[in-house]
């Protein structure tokens, strides 16, 4: 976690930091926020479940292990019961989490990369560059998100990359606008002028001087974006637009909904997995917001 604060040194070296001195480091601020700590535990729990548990719980989530529609606790049923084809729901949750988290992480990386690049160029150079890039951004911003993702995924075949790309495409404008706003705010501050005065190149100023200062805001929104990426992935899978060759939480819900009247567990447990992951990400995001931007506290 502390890796992201390392740039602080560079910032300090260049002089002014527009933050007020805070009562303790960001980490202390973070742990004082109980909700955030709870969220962190949720996330750690989810990560343990999807990446550590499989070491012991070796299963193929596609295996037909028992009779279909066995409720949790029924004789011969796995811990969380079976779905319509007799697959182990616990295995689907454990292994499906990887797919879901991979898509969410992949989409978040894409979103941040595209969003920050476009936002920083627009904010830094301003003028025509800004106008052109922002019109471009608006073009994507006005597209109804889920609908656009559905079209993209339906046009191509639902695979990991297509889904990641579709989610990335619809969510980057927010980050782009946020980055641009941060750049507009920061670019005329003293320490940037100083960097310019000593002859730093634009690239250096953007990446080494301004961006580290915009980081706290971006980190917070990236965390929240991962949450919505998970929801998007689940939504697409729910609508039948998932890579059916690899288990995922959304896919499990989409498959199970047809049988909900006789099999609630096939839908509910993957739903809870999504719920706790998104809740965890959102709480951690809030906690980071408080910890990294102490001035925003109480707003």
């Amino acid at each position: 976690m502390t890796g992201i604060f390392v740039d602080q040194g560079a910032v300090d070296a260049l002089g002014s930091d527009d933050r007020e001195p805070s009562s303790g480091g960001p980490w202390r601020l973070f742990v004082r926020n109980r909700a955030a700590v709870f969220g962190l535990f949720l996330l750690i729990g989810i990560l343990v479940m999807t990446f550590i548990v499989p070491i012991w719980y070796v299963k193929d989530p596609g295996d037909l292990v028992a009779r279909p529609h066995l409720r949790p606790g029924a004789e011969g049923a796995p811990l969380l019961g079976t779905d319509n084809l007799g697959r182990d729901i616990l295995a689907i949750i454990v292994y499906g989490g990887r797919t879901t988290l991979r898509v969410a992480a992949g989409a978040a990386v894409l979103i941040v990369f595209v969003g920050v690049t476009i936002g920083s160029l627009a904010g830094y150079y301003g003028g025509r560059v800004d106008a052109a890039l922002m019109r471009f951004t608006e073009f994507f911003q006005v597209l109804p998100g889920l609908l656009f993702a559905i079209v993209v995924v339906a046009l191509f075949e639902p695979s990991f990359w297509v889904i990641t790309f579709a989610i990335g495409t619809i969510a980057w404008p927010g980050i782009a606008r946020l980055t641009r706003a941060e750049f507009l705010r920061l670019k005329n501050l003293e320490f940037v002028k100083a960097a310019r005065a000593i002859g730093a190149t634009d690239f250096r100023i953007i990446t080494r001087v301004i961006l580290p200062n915009a980081m706290p805001t971006l980190i917070v929104s990236t965390t929240l974006i991962m949450g919505s990426a998970i929801l998007f992935e689940a939504g697409l899978a729910f609508l039948g637009l998932a890579d059916v060759n690899s288990a995922s939480w959304g896919l499990a819900i989409g498959r199970g909904r047809e049988f909900f009247t006789i099999n609630w567990w096939a839908v509910t447990f993957p739903g809870l997995a999504i719920f706790f992951t998104v809740l965890g990400l959102s709480l951690v995001g809030d906690g980071l917001q408080d910890a990294l931007n102490p001035r925003l506290r109480g707003r």
Binding site: I253, F260, S282
Partner: protein, 572 residues
């Protein structure tokens, strides 16, 4: 703080909404399944317009009970009058069954059009428009003696010219070209006698002249030089037919209202005054409507619906009838795929696919064993044919080793949303012998059909109908000549199978009148086909009808709902 709380609330709500959506809506998947059906029918190639598919199967004990009650009730005196409301999610393109196959057209089509013959439950031909018929000793001509009192809805008499026109129109336009392919000419010099001249004996022709396959349409209306496929009178409230009911209202994709035709040639029939066919695009609307008591009769739109209404005393749920439809669920293996070009590899796959498990789990038990391409109620069904019902994985591995494929390989499997449960099941089955199935979800039915017809697949799931006679519904999947180059035709010989011996047997069976001799030929042909294993037969589901107990004499003949509802009546 407020903002934060709001954000959390929003996230919470969205997750809840997701879960709620999971519980409630069923729209999207089914909608696409639905599209599939609609397009299938719309595309004209869709004889197997099949979304009533999944419902099918072995009739459980519940049916017996339902039917018992039914029979008891129908022993009362038929009462004329009343309106029967029928719900369907199949939207017909039009009502002209000489150029269009499929359930969507055939349900209203058999009400508004009569046919020369009619087959009873025992596959025995019965008089309908033709009072009597005879087949020449050499089998090269069929003579139909028509009723002299039959008229079209516009009052014009139905003559042998209309019969000739209908047969020749069908021969040239209908997707099942095998039905009338041997017909050389139809002699209509006597208005009440139609003599069909054949180039070879053609026992299937009697079946081909029953409702659902050959409607008699008025020559004086349709023979006006316009393209029959797109004829303006193919549908609409001005449709002139020959059957027991006439069209009074035709709203495409919404509803068709049929009224009793008073001059129908069978005295005292039909009993019903009116039939309303309510067309609902979404299968769930059909289910809700039935549950709500809006409909008297429907074909069950899904297995879940069948299960739901089996437990509901207010309805009779029965899989009786429709034997001739003879749907078989199967997996096509594409012989153009290198790994599938050897019989051993295909046998291995057939063994590894758990057919009994599929019927039990995916078809919810509503499907019966069917080990050949001929449906299991047919006299031509070879119950003793080589089959792959026993799942012996060691044997499968041995066969793969013989084919030099024991290192495993990958298969591409396009599937629409509705085919996913089967695809996932098969993927899992084949994993056990080291074969990786890559399920490729395609957006809709036409995409899938184009891929399968064009041969760009390795393995795929489909449902194919027997259509009464093997000549019509079976041969097409195995005949070397029916391997149609891309873009191809769906439900032709999509496996690209070719065995000259099989072709010879099928050709001989097509011209053999004696049922036993014919059966023997089909036994041999299906045995050879099964040894070559181009297709993995999963099972035979049957369509369930859901009716209110008031519906008497329901259409449970060999064509099910695709029969004239002349004897249907409503008790109160």
């Amino acid at each position: 703080m407020l903002k934060k709380a709001g954000l959390k609330l929003l996230l919470l709500l969205s997750v809840m909404a997701l879960i709620a959506a999971a519980c409630g809506g069923d729209d999207d998947d089914d909608a696409s399944g639905d599209d599939a059906t609609a397009t299938e029918t719309d595309d004209g190639g869709g004889e197997d317009s099949s979304d009533d598919d999944d419902g099918g199967g072995d009739t459980g004990g519940d049916d017996g009970g339902g039917d018992g009650g039914d029979d008891a009730a129908s022993s009362g005196e038929p009462v004329a009058g009343g309106t029967l409301v029928y719900a369907t999610n199949q939207s017909p393109r039009h009502l002209n069954g000489t150029v269009q196959s499929g359930l969507a057209t055939a349900v209203p089509g058999t009400q508004v059009n009569a046919s020369p013959l009619f087959f009873d439950e025992n596959y025995e031909p019965q008089p309908y428009l033709a009072e009597s018929w005879e087949i020449a000793d050499d089998g090269l001509s069929v003579t139909l003696n028509l009723r002299d009192d039959a008229v079209f809805h516009d009052g014009e008499p139905i003559t042998s010219e209309d019969v000739a026109f209908s047969i020749l129109t069908s021969k040239e336009n209908h997707p099942f070209s095998a039905m009338f392919a041997p017909v050389e000419s139809v002699d209509s010099s006597d208005p009440l006698v139609a003599v069909i001249n054949l180039s070879q004996p053609h026992p299937a022709i009697l079946m081909a002249m029953t409702p659902g396959l050959l409607p008699i349409i008025p020559e004086h209306i349709f023979n006006d030089g316009q393209d029959i496929q797109a004829h303006p009178r193919n549908a609409g409230s001005d449709f002139v037919g020959s059957g027991p009911f006439q069209v009074v209202e035709y709203e495409e994709g919404e509803r068709i209202v049929l009224e009793r035709f008073d001059d129908f040639f069978i005295d005292g029939r039909p009993y019903l005054d009116e039939i309303i066919i309510d067309i609902l695009p979404d299968p769930n609307s059909v289910i809700l409507g039935i549950d709500n008591g809006d409909y008297d009769m429907a074909v069950s739109p899904s297995q879940a619906a069948t299960q739901q209404f089996l437990d509901d005393d207010r309805f009779v749920v029965s899989s009786d009838g429709g034997d001739a439809i003879g749907q078989i669920d199967w997996l096509n293996l594409n012989l153009r795929t290198e790994e599938l070009s050897s019989a051993e590899a295909r046998q291995a796959i057939s063994i590894a696919v758990d057919q009994a498990g599929w019927r039990d789990i995916v078809a919810l038990g509503f499907s019966s064993q069917n080990i050949t391409g001929v449906e299991n109620a047919s006299p031509f069904y070879n119950a003793g044919a080589t089959n792959y019902e026993e799942r012996d994985l060691d044997r499968a591995m041995e066969l793969l080793a013989e084919a030099g494929l024991d290192g495993g390989f990958e298969l591409d499997m396009p599937a629409t949303a509705g085919m996913l449960p089967t695809a996932e099941f098969v993927k899992q089955n084949l994993e056990d012998i080291g074969v990786t199935v890559n399920i490729r979800q395609v957006p809709d039915f036409p995409t899938w059909a184009a891929e399968v017809a064009g041969g760009t697949y390795d393995i795929t799931y489909t449902q194919v109908w027997n259509w009464g006679d093997p000549v019509i519904g079976v041969n097409r999947s195995y005949d070397c000549e029916n391997r149609i180059d891309p873009p191809g035709v769906i439900w032709s010989n999509n496996s690209w199978y070719c065995n000259d011996e099989v072709d010879a047997l099928l050709d001989e069976a097509a011209v053999t009148f004696d049922t036993e001799a014919r059966a023997q030929l089909y036994f041999e042909a299906t045995e050879l086909i099964n040894q070559d294993a181009p297709i993995v037969y999963l099972g035979k589901p049957e369509a369930f009808q859901i009716r209110t107990p008031a519906v008497q004499n329901p259409p449970v003949g060999i064509w099910g709902v695709m029969s004239p509802w002349t004897d249907v009546w409503l008790s109160e």
